[in-house]
């Protein structure tokens, strides 16, 4: 067993481009970007589409469902954690952590669901836990 417990998370510093994302996080919502020209979702979100470099984009709420694309268990960190890329149901992969789990049971391809974890004096952080 290698249970992953909550750990201290450095608070991000929202800027004018991303404050919508972190405001939504306060409400438990994961927002991602969507390019209105190509129809493709993207992550991390940004004001200009990474596919067209135009502002023809919108924020969309992610379903919160995804699968583990890859991960690494940091068992020797002062507060052990699992870093991962999760492939979101909407398509893009996002860098995140897998939490509330036994790290030894994790497998690539495993279904995971969104969960927010508090940061230190900042907005909550979108992470994932086995479905």
């Amino acid at each position: 067993m290698a249970m992953i417990n909550d750990r201290a998370l450095t608070a991000p510093t929202p800027n004018p481009e991303t404050e919508v994302f972190f405001e939504a996080a306060e409400d438990g919502t994961l927002l991602i970007g969507r390019c209105l020209t190509t129809g493709k979702a993207f992550f991390f979100p940004r004001a200009l589409s990474p596919f067209t470099l135009t502002d023809n984009v919108e924020w969309v709420e992610a379903s919160g469902r995804g699968t583990i694309y890859t991960f690494s268990h940091m068992a020797r960190a002062p507060e052990p954690f699992v870093i991962a890329y999760v492939e979101l149901e909407e398509g893009p992969k996002m860098l995140t952590n897998i939490v509330d789990c036994d790290a030894e049971t994790l497998k690539i391809g495993m279904a995971v669901n969104l969960v927010f974890k508090p940061s230190e004096d900042g907005p909550p952080i979108p992470m994932f836990t086995p479905a």
Partner: protein, 388 residues
């Protein structure tokens, strides 16, 4: 415009130190420069172009001032550890365009003396970089980013920890002949896979060393190169690429080496089969494996079998790599392995590598670097050189 045949590496120097608490960073850069100048047999005042990356204190202007250089061309491209390979390419381009005649490239750092736990501690390079607010709270470190590449490669292709371990084993076989190597002891596959996990699936011995030191290179035009009493190492081709997350659609099993290598081979007019010796960036064992595949030395996904059973050991296998012991065992100054990759390739082409690891008839060599974070966004730069 091509750089093929337009420039030569005439000076190469690797600082012998691996721990320098008694030296300043600027001093290390300058000592490296002096070493390369002496190796080339030129004068400091012949230098009219200077190239350095983010490891230089104060950048081009401060280091030009410290070394009292009189410059008409400069470049401080920074893409992490691959920067010196890009600098050599940019120097060759500048020389071909007549912007300078004699280019100096330096790299130095003292992470060992400064106690930087670079691999396992999250570092915020620039709080304004656009990914920072999404990624920094996740604690992406150097080690776990590369580890995620290894995990995915294992998942897709069945690559094993034992196969990765062979890369360290080969590097250690070379390092035993290098009196300056940080880790001169030969290790076994068992030693590697039994060392503690740093970031699963990578073990402590899958990682490179942390060392102080540096190196420098002198690049010049053909007329000057041929006037010097040094073996002629001609630059045949180069390539650069940045690979990143592409909006969230990416495949972690390949690297920027795929594009950089392709461009370098095209410019050089040679193929992977022509390469007698290769310096392959080795921040971690997985870095080597992915780049060997991407550069075309074996098929994608077959790197595990390719590196196993001593195939990377000079005199034993078919693909001698990093004969100085590489970053894995010898030296990884400034946490950037690109400089030492070029230097060992130059030694091999000159026939100046250690006799125990010198590759016979080494006429064409390749050096490739990967900079920054393989698991998120990184640079790749390739150089192909020929002994003339």
């Amino acid at each position: 415009m091509t750089i093929n045949g337009e420039a030569y590496i005439v000076g190469a120097f690797e600082h012998p130190t691996r721990k320098a608490p008694d030296k300043s960073l600027a001093q290390l850069h300058a000592e490296c420069a002096a070493g390369a100048i002496a190796d080339a047999g030129i004068s400091k005042d012949d230098i009219d172009g200077y190239f350095c990356g983010g490891d230089s204190p104060g950048g081009v202007s401060s280091m030009a001032d410290y070394m009292n250089l009189n410059l008409r061309h400069m470049d401080s491209t920074d893409a992490g550890g691959c920067s010196p390979l890009a600098h050599v390419s940019h120097a060759a381009q500048a020389i071909a365009a007549g912007k300078c005649n004699v280019a100096l490239v330096t790299l130095a750092g003292r992470p060992r003396s400064e106690g930087l736990a670079i691999g396992t501690t999250p570092r915020l390079r620039d709080p304004l970089q656009p990914d920072a607010q999404f990624e920094f709270p996740m604690s992406l470190t150097t080690a776990n980013g590369y580890a995620m590449v290894a995990a995915r490669h294992m998942h897709e292709f069945g690559t094993t920890s034992e196969q990765l371990a062979w890369i360290k084993v080969a590097a250690s076989h070379h390092a035993q002949h290098n009196p300056n190597a940080v880790l001169p002891k030969v290790v076994t596959v068992e030693d590697v896979v039994n060392s503690p996990i740093v970031a699963s699936p990578l073990h402590r011995l899958d990682c490179c060393v942390i060392s102080d030191g540096g190196g420098a290179l002198i690049v010049t035009k053909p007329e000057i190169a041929k006037s010097l009493n040094r073996p002629l190492v001609k630059i045949l081709g180069s390539g650069e690429a940045i690979k990143h997350q592409s909006g969230g659609y990416f495949d972690l099993t390949f690297s920027a080496a795929a594009a950089a290598g392709k461009a370098a081979f095209a410019e050089a007019g040679v193929t992977p089969a022509d390469i007698k010796y290769a310096s392959i960036y080795d921040s971690f064992t997985i870095t080597v494996l992915v780049q060997i595949e991407d550069l075309g030395f074996c098929e994608k996904g077959k790197g595990g079998a390719f590196v196993a059973d001593g195939n990377l050991i000079s005199g034993v296998g078919k693909f001698p790599f990093n004969t100085d012991g590489g970053g894995l065992c010898n030296n990884h100054p400034a946490n950037r392995g690109g400089m030492t990759k070029v230097i060992e390739a130059v030694r091999q082409l000159r026939g100046e590598a250690h006799p125990k690891v010198q590759v016979a008839n080494c006429d064409i060599a390749l050096a490739h670097g990967t900079g920054l974070q393989l698991g998120a966004r990184h640079g790749g730069a390739t150089l192909i050189m020929e002994r003339e």
